[in-house]
Symmetry: C2
């Protein structure tokens, strides 16, 4: 019986300080429908970094405490404390998803004992996690925990984008920060499913990554002919919906402008309110935390809004959601394969130099945590 284990906690104090620590916490005994998973692999996704580090200035990070109980502190600039109001002085577990071995099971869940499973639901940067058996995705026999660590967030987000595109009546889509792990996955889905995908990247190196995996439309926003190239790609593909990981700046507005230019390319008469083709940008990330600037030079048939995986899954319901999960398991080592720059331990998660590396949010780089190390 496992009675306790280490768990990473993130605390933002109202005094304006971030504190990361490793707590030894009791492992809840499994109820009849529960299992205890020993976490062996959990990715650090961009969506984890927000909860983990908040708005702290990580250049001020300092490690203290002991080897067994390390504590990392960092200052929060006073003007960035307000967005943290709702979480002040609460010690929060972190880590969206992970995978590992079922080491204990309730009476109704015995069949899972010893299986390698993928799980989601927070608190994965921990040695053990008690969770409902029904929430476990059993991995194929030849899959390791590392293979299944990123089963949920990226695969379901990428599948969710294509499903949202279809549900809202579009036939092709645009993706920004397109050379990311998620972006590469989205390319594999679209190539397999025959969906046209316009990839927007920020430099020539990222364009090369996508060319190498067979992407069709690649537009480099740092190139002088970016807008014309984007308009051509949108005219050819007919994409009228975009998923944007950048958020801030003018990119969302440029995409809408180019969609409007593509829609008007074949227009026959003057429409004073612009084209009637609905143009949609969903912002699902915030690599640029600055304001989004919309010039509205694209008629009246446009929308910009937030997009998030969980509400999408609630909207489509359990049956459709399970179909998506089954596809992820079936194509785990092909379409949905993730690649990691490095595997680190829970303790290493608190080391300033390593934080600087995984917090770079560099396209194509991703860190994996193994809490059992």
């Amino acid at each position: 019986m496992t009675s306790d284990g280490l768990q990473l906690r993130s605390l933002i104090k109202s005094s304006g300080e971030l504190e990361l620590s490793l707590l030894r916490v009791p492992v809840p005994a499994p109820g009849a429908d529960d299992v205890v998973v020993r976490i062996e692999a959990s990715p650090i996704n961009p969506s984890d970094l927000g909860l983990l580090l908040g708005t702290a200035d990580m250049r001020t990070a300092k490690l203290s405490g002991t080897k067994d109980a390390p504590v990392l502190t960092a200052g929060i600039p006073p003007n960035l404390l307000r967005p943290m109001t709702a979480r002040l002085d609460q010690s929060l577990p972190v880590g969206n998803e992970g995978a590992g071995t079922v080491i204990q099971a309730g009476d109704a869940s015995r069949a899972l004992t010893g299986k390698t499973v993928a799980i989601v639901g927070g608190g994965m940067y921990a040695q053990y996690r008690t969770i409902k058996a029904a929430d476990c995705l059993v991995l194929p026999a030849d899959a390791t925990a590392a293979d299944g660590a990123s089963c949920f967030v990226n695969p379901l987000t990428a599948l969710g984008m294509v499903a949202t595109m279809r549900a809202e009546g579009h036939t092709a889509l645009v993706h920004t920060a397109a050379a990311s792990n998620l972006g590469q996955m989205l390319n594999r889905i679209c190539l397999k499913d025959g969906v046209a995908l316009v990839n927007i990247v920020r430099n020539a190196e990222q364009a090369g990554i996508l060319r190498a995996i067979g992407a069709t439309h690649i537009c480099d926003s740092s190139a002088p002919d970016f807008f014309d190239a984007l308009t051509r790609a949108l005219t050819t593909s007919g994409a009228t919906i975009a998923f944007d990981a950048i958020g801030g700046g003018k990119l969302a507005s440029q995409i809408l402008t180019a969609m409007e230019a593509a829609a008007n390319a074949n227009a026959k008469s003057y429409s004073r309110y612009g084209s009637t083709v609905h143009k949609q940008v969903y912002i699902y990330g915030g690599l640029d935390t600055g304001p989004t600037e919309l010039n509205r030079g694209y008629g009246m048939a446009w929308s910009v809004g937030g997009w998030l995986l969980t509400p999408f899954l609630i909207k489509i319901g359990a049956t459709e959601g399970n179909k998506l999960r089954a596809r992820v398991v079936a194509e785990l080592k092909t379409t949905f394969a993730s690649h990691y720059t490095k595997t680190i331990s829970l303790r290493e998660m608190l080391e300033p130099a390593i934080i600087a590396a995984y917090n770079k949010r560099a396209t194509g780089e991703k860190y994996l945590v193994n809490p059992s190390l």
Copy 2:
């Protein structure tokens, strides 16, 4: 038989010049299902000004031509010519809506002869307009053309806002530039229908206009406590959808921020992605033509987009649309009454001093054109 009549035309030349003129054009003879209306009243709505004046700098306006054939010209700043590309060198009739007397009718439309009708569909800044009888809204016997001149754009827009609010699952709404003719109409609808309306105005005088007609929630964006007052009004009313006539600047983002604060006022635990309450801002005007700046500090459940009357009417279909029109006629002199600052002739529409007056887009001021003068 009326064979021809004056019609106002707006032309933007690729050389960078706006030209307004009065052309004598043939009046198309009515087919069996048509009527010819002598236009006696047509409002100058903000939505007409865009087509009428384009992006011309009206400080450069010059009147020439003859009394019978006046011509107004004005320069277009080179950087503002590009948005006009789609309409260059096309002589366009102007005027969304109007009312007047049926002076000729096709065989199937005789019953309308002599009736005062309201019509919509462009080209109303003209002495005569041939139109389908089915598109005429017959006014009550005691209504003048001036009473019915603004039957469509403002009344259906205001009703469309309330209908959109209901259709998208909201229970109260926000309106900006709220002391406008449209805004006052929306207040009368909401007071009558028992819908909570949060009015955002830009100064104390406008607040006074709304207080005088019984508006409940009035927030003055020029007041130092604007944000707190708005948050209180949103908390009380529960409004999660806004219709914004301003467009540019930070107001849309402030509204979303205040909606989020209102939604979180009663939240019980920290939600890392913000509240799950969907917050919507529809931009339907552009009093501020600058970019819309969104700081995205309101979680992920938000959307900002364009809203336009015509697609709304297409979406709800003819049956629902006719119900709205019938309500406008039934409440023409109460809920949907419009007030005009001044009535002018077609010729006066081309006089620089008068253009300066009706182009001010001052809240609560509205000009009426009587092409029969």
